[in-house]
Amino acid sequence: MSREARIGETVLSVEKVSLSFGGVKALQDVSFDVREHEVRAIIGPNGAGKSSMLNVINGVYHPQQGTIRLRANGAWKEFSDMDSHEAAALGIARTFQNIALFKGMTVLDNIMTGRNLKMRASFLEQAIWIGRARREELKHRRAVEEIIDFMEIQHIRKTPVGRLPYGLQKRVELARALAAEPRLLLLDEPMAGMNMEEKQDMCRFVLDVNDQYGTTIVLIEHDMGVVMDISDRVVVLDYGRKIGDGTPEEIRGNQAVIDAYLGVAH
């Protein structure tokens, strides 16, 4: 079965979302949808509201208007105001533009935190370290090791993340998000600040995640080459408004998008 054939129904739909901070309008009336198993890119000039959009989807920001609908376990859930850890419980995971790893912990522990929602043992059981707590810890360690293997970071599993170079930290952060086995993965500039080789590696990882786990991916990226290569459909934002939506080919030919990019001096 080819990759395209796996793309399914809509799983996330953003409807007329507006968000502002004390008068500054970050998003205005933005709507788009994401289909199962697809790689959906959000692009736009700096300050276009891309990160805000991700923050709205996973509950870090609460939009003043509009709703987000997410299909989870066959049923639609509609929400406009929820906490980020509720979003996590619904199967949304993400990475951050500025790496948000837990600096004082090892790679292994960082990724293990990604599985916190799957742990059931109470803290008392954990303190005594018997029965369920111990079993869970070992079981999830194995699951995490699979991800470590997948992301090819075996050699650093016990290194504190603070000591790692930037490119590896990005990888660890993706691994942590994957550990939650999300159905929807939000990536905020996963390739920012990387050299060519690291970018290629990261592209491969993103596509592999999409292939192997069937994860639906929404990503923000500046590198147009990367966006055109790996995304199925692209949303273009400018000044908080949606100015384009379609396949990479369609976006390439979209006059509004071309103007937006030529209009700013980046």
Binding site: R141, E145, E146, I148, D149, Q154, H155, R157, D208, Q212
Partner: protein, 652 residues
Amino acid sequence: MKAGIGSLDTFPKLLLHHARARGALPAIREKDLGIWQTWTWHEFADEVRALACGLAERGLKRGEHMALVGDNRPRIYAAMCAAQCLGAIPVPLYQDAAAAEMAFPIQNAEIAHALAEDQEQVDKLLEILPKCPTLEHIYYDDPRGLRYYAQPGLEAYDALLELGRAAWRRDPAFLEAEIEKGRGEDAAAMFFTSGTTGTPKGVVLTHHALIDRARAAAEMEGLSDRDVVLAYLPPAWIGQNIFSYAQPFVTGYCICCPESAETVMTDMREIGPTYYFAPPRVLEALLTQVSIRMEDAGAVKRWLYRKFMGVARRVGGMLLDGKRVSALDRLLYWLGDLLVYGPLRNVLGMSRVRVAYTAGEAIGPDLFKFYRSLGINLKQLYGSTETSVFVCVQPNGQVKPDTVGPAVPGVELKFTPERELLIRSPGLFKEYYKNPQATLEAKDQEGWFHTGDAGYFDPDGHLKIIDRVKDVGQLADGTLFAPKYLENKLKFFPYIQEAVAFGQGRDRVCAFINIDAEAVGNWAEKRNMPYSGYVDLASRDEVYELVRECVEQVNADLAQEPEIANSQIHRFLILHKVLDADDEELTRTRKVRRGFVAQKYATLVDALYAGKQSVHVEAQVKYEDGRTGTISADLRIHDAKTFRADAAKRAA
């Protein structure tokens, strides 16, 4: 001598024997998913059975060949045995070989079944598929990235295993019978020798040959099922295969596969093998690393290291050989063991090593002594693919740096008048596959194998190898010229990674040098010398000066040896690129292909002898990703001081 190997005369029979006799002991471990995943002999046998049945279902038949392409993985070894169960002959291929290099063995052996480790290897096999019409089945271990491959005949190892399990449940007797049909005289495996010239040859080894030699050596060293070996060299090389397949199957010891090439050091430390094998280049790289890391240490540690390594050099080897040493020296060595040698063995992962071998090429005496002085029982070994490795081994207590020891029981040795070594042994190969001409040239009517190595016995009956017979030559004045001998002497300096000496039929000796980028880089940093890379480093005056000192030291040594005192190196240059197997300048086992290099860099050789001060070069290089590029540079040529060979003159 035709020593019987008993009723357990094939590897599959040995496997079943271990599964019965020591089923619960570990057979093979692999660092995977963060821990050492362990297969007991029982589990390993189960895996092999299922896999064999699966292969049979897919049509692998007695006498056919099966290719194995991958790093040291339990499943590669399981497949090796599974093929043998069916009477098929496994052909391990070098996992780092380019796709084109894999075509020949597959065509040559008309291979229909291949097991590839991962996507990388599958891609290579698919690339040569048009040239290899016989290849019908490609099995892969790691499914990553292969999801959308639509190639017919491509199948996951796990699927094959499932198929096999079902077949085994249906008819367990089939496999029993197949295994019983196996005979010691059957071919057990075929190893393609890289060959310094010409096309590779498939060396066919029988179960009998491999088992007999593996057992002879194991008995000599007292190996048991408690021993542990780290399998970190290519499994396609007999030097690895004998230690990670033949010997564990004979003795029942456990082999361990590292997580990846980058983690070998750490994995070795974790496992702490008791039985260790390393070619000199690995030992050399380790020593270079030790030296570099020690240079970064604080003054106290450096002083301790210098002091106690001095003690070790003086008495360490003697203590290991059980010779008499003064009480004071014993005390000093004990202190050194506490402070330096013990910790050093520990960080190198060699704390538990009982027996360590080195072979494959000559080892620098200082390098050899370094490990022995640390208390590691490093010994030399002589053998080749054609001899199932074990020809000569140094017995404990009779270890010398410049010989390879007496013959292992069962082996007969003699020399031709041209000093070529001939071998007769139960471990000799059956034939070169589909190459009766070559077989006949190598193995004569009386069963003597012509090694092509030149050497002699020393007074104690230990074999000493100088060089290849065809490489041992003469200078214009008729004195002996043994290039490899010179090169090895040069390569012992940490700053010199590779050297190529010329002099055949010439009036004097000149050499190419490859500096060791890491060691020299470190040296440069210590002197606050900024540099941009190998090429820059290789052209620095300071570096030339450094290398000149090394060369002159070698010359001083050579002046002491009457026979080759005339081989002192008069001129040298530092090559602008690192000699590389990908450019065919080295063999896959990293031996210099001298003829090829001489031809490729003929202008440089001419410049050396023409007395020029510099020469311009432009060279094609192949990068790792397959692209090619050009380097151009002006190479300078320097003269080195030579020494009067008083002894030589007197002898003459």
